[in-house]
Amino acid sequence: MYHESKVKKGLLGIPKYIFMLFFVLIAVGPMIWAFLSSFKTYAEINSSAIALPKSLNLQNYKDAFKYAPIAKYFLNSVLIVGISVLVTVCVVAMCAYVVSRFRFKLKTVIVLMISASLMLPAQAISQPLFAIFKALGIFDTKLGLILVYSAMGIPMSFFVMVSYYETISTALEESAYIDGATFLQTFLHIILPLAKPGLVTIALLQFINTWNEFYFALMLTSGDSARTVPIALNYYMGTFANNYSALFAAVVMTVMPTILVFIILQRQVMESLTAGAVKG
């Protein structure tokens, strides 16, 4: 009996590991290949796709910096993403708080409007945004993208935050009001510190979504002044058409920041994404 069950387990175990190995390879294989290729010379890349690089050649990285303003694109991304994360967290922290705690006119309208836009495809509203931004003079500016990205984060963050606030007991606020605290004092000193995990969740969600955002950046920028990293990649495809060894370096530099953030903050990122999916 004992022997039989062990054999069965072993037989079931092998396909399981083959399955896992296959999908790990599919998932990280292309990335590792691009990473290794980024150290190869142009001639090495052309001669064999699977040979390892002969030396740690950094020429491709130097070329990538020489032919395209990569540092500028990174700075644009950091500024646009950083500010939009801050803006989304602030406005959502406030709005979701009053929606979760108080009854007022228009509350149902607000909740309905925000939930209707949860699943809205970005492309559908891009032409009007383009027209509005041209009219306001913020087309092809960092401010324009910051506004879009901040708003883009609202629907999902809003529902994550409302359900987070609902887990915080109202007893603390009530006693604060009895002690004579004002509305703002209560919010800043009692609620916000308790809501920190929720705020971290929406900040991470917003970071990942905006750092990777492609479509609005494509539609709403036309020059280097506001181009972000993902959109720059598309532009390299044209620029580096004949120098694809530098393209490998550019891809590696694009995916590195998100992968690093993900690996360092793994648990929180997974929790954020799950919360965003389930509560949103």
Binding site: M20, A27, A34, F104, P128, T182, F214, V255
Partner: protein, 295 residues
Amino acid sequence: MSTKNKKVWIALFIVPCMILFVLIYAAPIVTVLYTSLCEYTVSTSPVLKGLENFKTIFQDKDFLESIKNTLVWVVLQSTFHVSLGFIMALVLRRKPKGWKFVRTAYMIPNIIPTAATGVMFTLLLNPTFGVLKSVYGIFGLDAAQIPNLFGNSKFAFWTVTCTWILYSGFNTIIFLAEMGAVDTAIYEAARVDGAKPWQMDRYITIPLMKNIFGTCVVLASVAMVSQFDIIYVTTKGGPGNSTLNLPTYLYKVATLENNYGKANAVGVIQIALGLVLVVFIQALFREKKMKQEGK
């Protein structure tokens, strides 16, 4: 705190969020709905024309192809892709050796910029220096026979599909979180009753995952209705219209034809398709649940 005072604070807390929301969502949606009924191009202001734009797009072969491709991708993604994530979660749920590593590695394609995924696959499958050349070399095949997977209309659709359908790590972590929330006493009781592992999955785990399955299917479908980045980077909807979907068609109409009225009519169809899918899928999963409870 006086009621009047409270009202002022409530208003102050809502206004910033609503200003952003109205500027970026509400105003454009109203504009899309209105201008879809107008003659409106890059050089002319909107003039109301009724359903002209809708008539035009429904007679356009490219539009019909883009609807077909979008729907095929929605179906594939909400069945195969979601199930793959679910199977991975079932495997990882028992915490085999290295499961945390597998979970992280499998998740990585879901968190990197999709444009980067597109560029990577373009490089990987390039006929002159991609991996296929080495594979052909190993098997002694003629290098001139290497197919251009993104550039040949026979292969392009399935090649593009492969760049996203296998990457279901996001669904895996959602399912894993939900499986982790199941009361272990249920499994304990089943084990005492002599249930085998596959029976536990079949009769306990799978039924309990109904709701979250619905959520994953909704998310996967909606993502396919707005799938753009990878297609734009790899094929731009081509060759011909073999990988054209609603977003890429809309983008072409707006930026190449500069026909904004027509583009916004496509936008209305895109929004409507998204809504119909969400309502349909939710109804599908709700009905199943009710039937089960009725038994």
